[in-house]
């Protein structure tokens, strides 16, 4: 495997190890019960241990792979996919923005803002961007609010 894949897998294993420890920590006060009479804490503790153990096993495997020279510096491995990191981060930021604007100004305003931002990231400009953002919000409003009668969330300020 390449260095990129190696680093990605190490980060994944570390994140899941932390998640497993967090699950165990959160479940420490829950009663475990017995195998015949499981209680609330049985599965969280079981899967927290499983996650932590498997993450450690994955880290050990990765360390052994590196030691055996399976990690190469050149080119890309056949399983790899290039990641559009800027785009991924941009869309995550757009979703966070969407949630914040929905809470403040409501669903329709948030739709317009989010679709405009998303269209801009994807390279749309001028009238196409306006049609995408306003048009999408209008279609959503017509389908859900007018036709189906589902009231869309209103913001705290509207």
């Amino acid at each position: 495997m390449s260095q990129t894949v190696f680093r990605a897998r190490v980060i994944t294993a570390l994140v899941l190890l932390v998640l497993g420890i967090v699950v165990l920590w959160q479940s420490r006060d829950l009663p475990f019960g017995t195998l015949n009479r499981m209680q609330a804490g049985f599965f969280p503790i079981l899967f927290g241990c499983l996650m932590s153990g498997l993450s450690l096993a994955m880290l050990c495997n990765l360390y052994r792979s590196r030691k055996n020279g399976a990690v190469t510096d050149d080119g890309s491995h056949e399983d790899e996919e290039p990641v559009h990191l800027r785009g991924a981060l941009a869309f995550i930021a757009i979703f966070v923005l969407f949630v914040l604007v929905t809470n403040a100004f409501g669903f329709l305003a948030a739709s317009v803002v989010a679709m405009a931002a998303a269209g801009y990231v994807m390279g749309l400009r001028n009238w196409r961007l306006a049609v995408l953002s306003v048009g999408t919000a209008a279609v959503i409003w017509i389908i859900f609010d007018v036709w189906l009668g589902l009231s869309l969330p209103h913001g705290a300020w509207l």
């Binding site: 899967f47 994955m58 559009h84």
Partner: protein, 338 residues
Amino acid sequence: MTGIEEILNGFASALSLTNLLVCLAGVALGTLVGVLPGLGPVGAISMLLPLTFSMEPVSALILVAGVYFGGMYGGSTTSILVNVPGEAASVVTTLDGYKMTQKGRAGAALAISAIGSFIAGTIGMVLLTFLAPPIARMAIKFGPPEYFAIVLAGLLILSRLTDKSLIRSYLLISVGVVIALVGIDPSSGMLRLTFDSPWLVDGVDFIPIIMGLYGLAEVIGSLEQVHLKPEKTDLSLKKLLPTRTEMKRSTGPIVRGGLLGFFMGLLPGPAKDRRKRWGEAPFFSFFHLEKSRDIITINEAGRKQHDQTSHLYDKLGQRLSPLPCQSGEKRANESGSR
């Protein structure tokens, strides 16, 4: 004899022109609503129920049934076309349906899905009519140990679908189960993994996870193809329909799916609750069964695996003629060449 007479009377009533038109309307409306993500058959029925208040009881029931069947089918439309499942039961459809779309066989995939839904639904109805009492008696005997065994088997089989590495597979399954544990414990009512947040008391709903996993991933993936321009091609109806070979190869899975779905549906208990807790493990286990029969293959790396998708059609014993949607293949070619 009385039972047969009642069945025949029921057919006579259902096959009247009015009721057939009501059924058509119900299926169309249900399909439209089922396409919308987050609104499944139950949501569609809830919203369209006021339409039935002024109708005859038989017509109202037929309309509601049509909406249900249409809603179940509608979820697979977005699964096939844009790799975003419309509802929980359509998740597995993305695995091969979207690959067919990328190969330019979206019409065939939609047609096979519709035909499969019709045949399997008919099988279920016929079996329900004649076999329901004895099978229900057996299904009632299913208790918590049996449900646990089914789900455990599904999860273990699921682990073989995801990755070559067992450790990574089980790790991902553990993550999924932990997400499902968030919320109130059904036995004791205690809060689990809520981090004292009121937002997590109801747990994590399945639809936002599906939207995040499939929708966000698809949007991010499409960022790499922004510079590609779609090409116009001539489409004929023949190219949009499945070929004879595809239909022949689909017959077995459709019938097996219908039978398996019938028996799974007979298991008593809140189906939504089972699905929320354990995901679509039975669907995935059946999917793996079909995979092992070399009838369908899965493609976990997504749209980049153009060669594997070509191999699928080789296995079907047919080289596709020039595809109706060249842009799909061009994108796949360009992506695979990077």
